[in-house]
């Protein structure tokens, strides 16, 4: 059974300009021990999905649907019970390691606080475990860094500290929201290797949220592609990259500049990402930019088609053709 089941999750923000439908009716499973990547551009709803799971949505947001963790409904759970889940079961690391550490507190007090509060450890025990954890995320000079303030560490070190901190209570799920976006490429590949090691050593299930398709290719088992608050396509990483079914996935993969491929002109997707303000579009959110779609795409929301481990939501790629595309490769 899936460790985390999300069914028909929707997130709506009420703003002064009207409701913003950030996430519309998405469903997915997160299985034990896998790395699932949620890929999407800004505004596709990938981060809000994570916040909804964590119960960390902004005050003006409303989440509907169902999120089950180990068979238990956790959406709309009372704050104290949610805090307990965040403490021990689902941890999250954020995009910018600068803003997610408290600048006024030493690393030591921020880290030991977690263990002392949630596991009731003594100061000395907590300190010992924290330093061990810092060493296991390959932080150089862990003892020295432990006594420093966040501003004394570089971005990559801070991200390692964040990861170490999130692993302290041995969570079963780690949600990593753009963990490498703020880092340089050489540091980025170090962090990716670290995430893979963590999965192996602790058996942590990882939900990786990113816009970077290269990152996804390197470390995830399955991919879920989001656009305009909806899931476009889900499937095993190799299959999605080898034979994308949804037109959005296909054009997105084409549009990424690659070091190993020679092209004279980058294929680009015309138009701009959708504005999420206003009523939910009646059709597929990608229809205004789609090269394949026609009038019906603007008026009907595509149902999810499935074939094996893959699923997609596109009117122009129904079950039959989708099958062919998959089988053809």
């Amino acid at each position: 059974m899936a460790l985390l089941q999300t069914r028909n999750l929707s997130v709506t923000f009420s703003t002064a300009d009207g409701p913003v439908h950030a996430v519309n009716d998405i469903s997915f499973n997160l299985c034990r021990g896998e790395i699932l990547a949620i890929v999407g551009e800004s505004g596709s709803g990938k981060s809000q999905t994570a916040f909804a799971i964590m119960g960390l949505l902004a005050r003006n947001a409303h989440a509907a649907g169902s999120v089950r963790f180990g068979g238990k409904e956790i959406l709309g759970l009372h704050e104290t019970s949610m805090a307990r889940i965040r403490a021990s079961d689902i941890a999250m690391i954020f995009q910018n390691p600068m803003t997610s550490l408290n600048p006024y507190k030493r690393i030591s007090s921020q880290m030991t606080e977690v263990l002392r509060l949630h596991q009731g450890l003594s100061r000395r025990e907590a300190r010992f475990q924290c330093i061990e954890m810092l060493k296991s995320v390959n932080l150089a000079d862990a003892e020295i860094r432990f006594e420093q303030f966040p501003h004394e560490c570089s971005g990559g070190m801070r991200q390692r500290i964040m990861i170490a901190m999130s692993l302290l209570c041995r969570p079963r799920i780690l949600i990593a929201d753009e963990p490498t976006t703020a880092l340089d490429v050489t540091i980025q590949s170090q962090i990716v290797e670290l995430l893979k090691t963590i999965r192996q050593v602790y058996g942590t299930t990882i939900l990786l949220i990113t816009h970077d398709l290269g990152l996804v290719a390197g470390c995830s088992d399955r991919v879920m592609v989001m656009y305009g608050g909806r899931v476009m396509e889900t499937g095993p990483t190799e299959e999605i990259f080898a034979a994308p079914v949804h037109p959005y996935t296909a054009t997105l993969l084409e549009a990424v500049p690659r070091l190993d491929r020679e092209v004279s002109e980058l294929p680009s997707i015309p138009g701009n990402p959708p504005n999420m303000l206003g009523p939910i579009p009646e059709g597929c959110p990608f229809s205004p930019r789609c090269q394949v779609g026609d009038q019906t795409c603007f008026t009907r929301i595509p149902e999810v088609s499935r074939s094996g481990q893959r699923s997609w939501a596109c009117l122009k790629r129904d079950k039959g053709t989708g099958h062919e595309t998959v089988a053809g490769n």
């Binding site: 170090q190 398709l213 070091l259 990402p273």
Partner: protein, 334 residues
């Protein structure tokens, strides 16, 4: 032919307040750029890549003149910018413009898009009539892919990609010779990124521009730059034609940088050998005496710790600053 732009031994220091309690403790010096030299030909596009803290942006700023170099020279068509008169410098500034990283932050939120794009025209050509300015703004907007009827909108009404188009239009309205783009697409989404890259390439050919593209993204450089400089801790470590640099890098840092770029293909990505670079970029406040990359270099030899390597021409157009460069042919033999 004289190069359009020539940088000679450029050095930029920033003075930081001294560390410690006493106000008279010696100030510290942060060396942002040291010994940077290169030439840019007309109609050439040059990529500058490096990690954060490598001095890319400081280089751009010292070219356009918002940072005063500590030593070294910037020549524009053979004229030393530092000794030129105020007026002639201001004229030259009209010939080199900049496109910034964060499009929304670079545009004044209280000005309409039309005024933002037209402002440089009014500054440099105050004699132009307002109808002429409006006409040129309209043509330029159309050229960069913005509908001219959006001229009275404000920046917040645009998406990131459109704002970057506004920034590009503003940079091009004076018909400059050189456009310096500081991370032009880093803040944009993947699907929009390709549009802006293609736009820049098209404009370069149409207007006969020279481009300096500052980026941390090597795959971008490959698509847009003829030649690429790799920077590390304020030093140029390698200069080569872009495709040669990517396929046959000579400096160990260039190779590490290239192999760190993830490829969006699971099959390639999982098989690729990846010499992970250990550690992080050192502090620019106390730069080591020898090669700047020595502390992280997998190929460092005895000399590296004490003698800074100078830039050597390995072949025409390909320079590297390393005592022990990678040599593709030698490696095969060994």
């Amino acid at each position: 032919m004289k190069p359009l732009l020539e940088i000679e031994n450029l050095k930029v220091d920033f003075t930081l307040p001294g560390q410690g309690f006493w106000p008279w403790s010696a100030p510290r010096v942060l060396t942002a750029l040291d010994g940077v030299s290169f030439r840019l030909k007309e109609r050439e596009s040059l990529g500058i890549v490096g990690e954060s803290g490598s001095g890319k942006t400081t280089l751009a700023r010292s070219i356009v003149g918002t940072v005063r170099p500590t030593s070294g020279k910037v020549y524009w068509r053979g004229k030393d910018l530092a000794t030129e008169s105020r007026q002639s410098r201001s004229a030259i500034r009209g010939d080199m413009t900049m496109v910034f990283q964060n499009p929304l932050a670079a545009l004044d939120p209280r000005m309409t898009v039309g005024r933002i794009i037209g402002e440089p025209l009014q500054t440099h050509h105050p004699d132009l009539s307002s109808s002429e300015v409006a006409r040129r703004v309209g043509t330029m907007m159309e050229r960069v892919g913005l509908l001219p009827n959006l001229v009275n909108r404000y920046p917040h009404e645009f998406s990131g990609g459109q704002c970057q188009r506004v920034g590009i239009a503003r940079a091009l309205i004076l018909k400059p010779k050189l456009v310096i783009c500081d991370e032009p697409v880093a803040a944009l989404d993947v699907s929009v990124r390709a549009q802006v890259v293609n736009l820049l390439r098209g404009l370069k050919n149409e207007f006969g521009l020279s481009l300096i593209i500052i980026t941390h993204d090597l795959s971008l450089v490959k698509h847009i730059a003829d030649r690429t400089c790799v920077m590390y801790l304020g030093h140029l470590v390698e200069v080569a034609p872009s495709s040669r640099l990517i396929h046959k890098p000579l400096h160990p840092y260039s190779r590490a940088l290239i192999s760190s770029v993830p490829v969006p293909d699971p099959v390639v990505e999982r098989q690729r050998p990846r010499p992970l670079l250990e550690g992080e970029i050192p502090s620019p406040i106390s730069i080591p005496p020898g090669c700047v990359f020595e502390s992280r270099c997998p190929r460092s030899i005895h000399r590296c710790a004490s003698h800074p390597p100078g830039m050597r021409e390995i072949s025409a157009d390909h320079g590297v600053a390393c005592h022990n460069p990678l040599d593709a042919d030698l490696d095969k033999g060994a």
